[in-house]
Symmetry: C2
């Protein structure tokens, strides 16, 4: 159900707008459940909504939960034996140090208040919140260069094909040297080697000097990272390593150049 | 070399800006060639530029060619035996019927004028112009639905993972039914099945009605189509078919779900 809540989010990750392809408008929900009840092969089990992604405040979720609660009760009054309410995902992930989205605890408290007394099984979809900051993209500086004026670039061996979010959503991922050099910080553009202006991870970030061979970590790459990776520019996709305390284990092999041609015939 | 030409193009495909990661500023070129001449393992062969992509007029190319010509002659006067001048790519592809970029013939005439008398081998990189309109993405309508008000959607089985350009560059690709239905045209949003608001191929396009099972062609998908495709949303990448007159031949097999897990271990 599309509860039409003002989600204050990037247009690409706002899902509950009147112009969106998703869901069924709330005003048509009761008719849809009547249709389900009339069909022999279907049985309605619950009600689900998704109001958008990367929402930093609890207010839109509470507003959605109240609307869902009212609709859920109306559907039960209509005779539908609904047992589940899926409130979707969307709670924001802190991608930068300055980000302070509502905490899962505050989110939980607010929703518990809005849904108090409702006899229902609640479902949530917090995948991004769980995995985004559990992963990072490790990359090595290929070269540094100076552009026009004093503009400094560090070209790394990861590109937009490996992590699309900065190019696709103008997402800002923290980029940090794995071992911080001594010396004062300067503004650096950290860019990939792909032949596109969009292949930029961070612009004018204050960092200590980077040199060829240095490792950098691109943070918060656990969600929408490898799952959106491509082999654009004939770049095989990176390996994936699972780190568990002091142990590290390869869980996906680095893609090979040969694999890019798999299934091709002339 | 970055000739710093006003390319009037999408920021992501403008390459010759002062803030860009690409190239060497023209003002530093002579020093760079002196360095090359002083190094034992290198010999400068030529000069190359790339001013951007999807440029619809010849004027920026002529301006770049004039700057390159002057720099090329200055480098020869400095004693560098240059034999090649690479003018890059960038001539716009007509993606929509209304697009009327300069023709290759007009581009050629203008550059021939700007470079007349220069004794040099010219190189060009017109890949996109050659292949973009040579390919299309064929897709089938999964379902149609009505959103808020009278907004009509056709959900097709191709998504942003198959053709990223609309989501990444706000690119407009013509979308057409393979067999046009009778009846009047209405505004339709043609969207993919991926769980993102960006997964939209065209909004409010005037088309005759689409029905589940209909085939649609997304035009101009020959460049930056399959090369940027990913398996996002666990969607195997499509097959590629080469059409030569009345003959058609599979040249790349449809990716399998199993292949998405290749190289993964637990």
């Amino acid at each position: 159900v599309n509860p039409d809540v003002d989600a204050r989010t990037h247009p690409y990750i706002a899902t509950a707008l009147a112009t969106s392809k998703f869901g069924i408008p709330a005003a048509r929900a009761r008719a849809a459940y009547r249709l389900i009840a009339a069909l022999p092969g279907l049985r309605a089990q619950g009600l689900a909504c998704h109001i958008g992604s990367q929402i930093s405040q609890v207010r839109p979720f509470v507003e959605a939960a109240r609307k869902l609660r009212a609709l859920f009760l109306a559907l039960r009054e209509d005779g539908h034996a609904l047992t589940r309410l899926d409130l979707g995902g969307g709670l924001g992930v802190p991608y930068r140090d300055a980000d302070e989205p509502a905490t899962p605890a505050a989110y939980g408290r607010a929703l518990a208040g809005a849904l108090r007394g409702l006899d229902v099984q609640l479902l949530f979809e917090p995948g991004r919140l769980i995995v985004a900051n559990a992963g990072l993209l490790l990359s090595r500086v290929i070269l540094t260069k100076q552009g026009e004026g004093a503009r400094r670039f560090a070209v790394i061996d990861a590109g937009m094909n490996d992590l699309l979010r900065p190019a696709l959503y103008q997402a800002e991922h923290a980029v940090e040297p794995v071992v911080e050099a001594a010396g004062r910080k300067r503004r650096i553009d950290v860019v990939g080697p792909v032949c596109e202006s969009a292949d930029v991870f961070t612009k004018q970030r204050m960092m200590t000097a980077l040199a060829a061979g240095d490792l950098v970590a691109i943070r918060s790459a656990g969600a929408y990272g490898m799952s959106m990776a491509s082999s654009y520019n004939a770049r095989p996709r990176p390996a994936e390593v699972l780190v568990d305390g002091a142990r590290a284990r390869l869980v996906r092999e680095r893609e090979t150049l040969e694999a890019l041609l798999d299934g091709e015939t002339i």
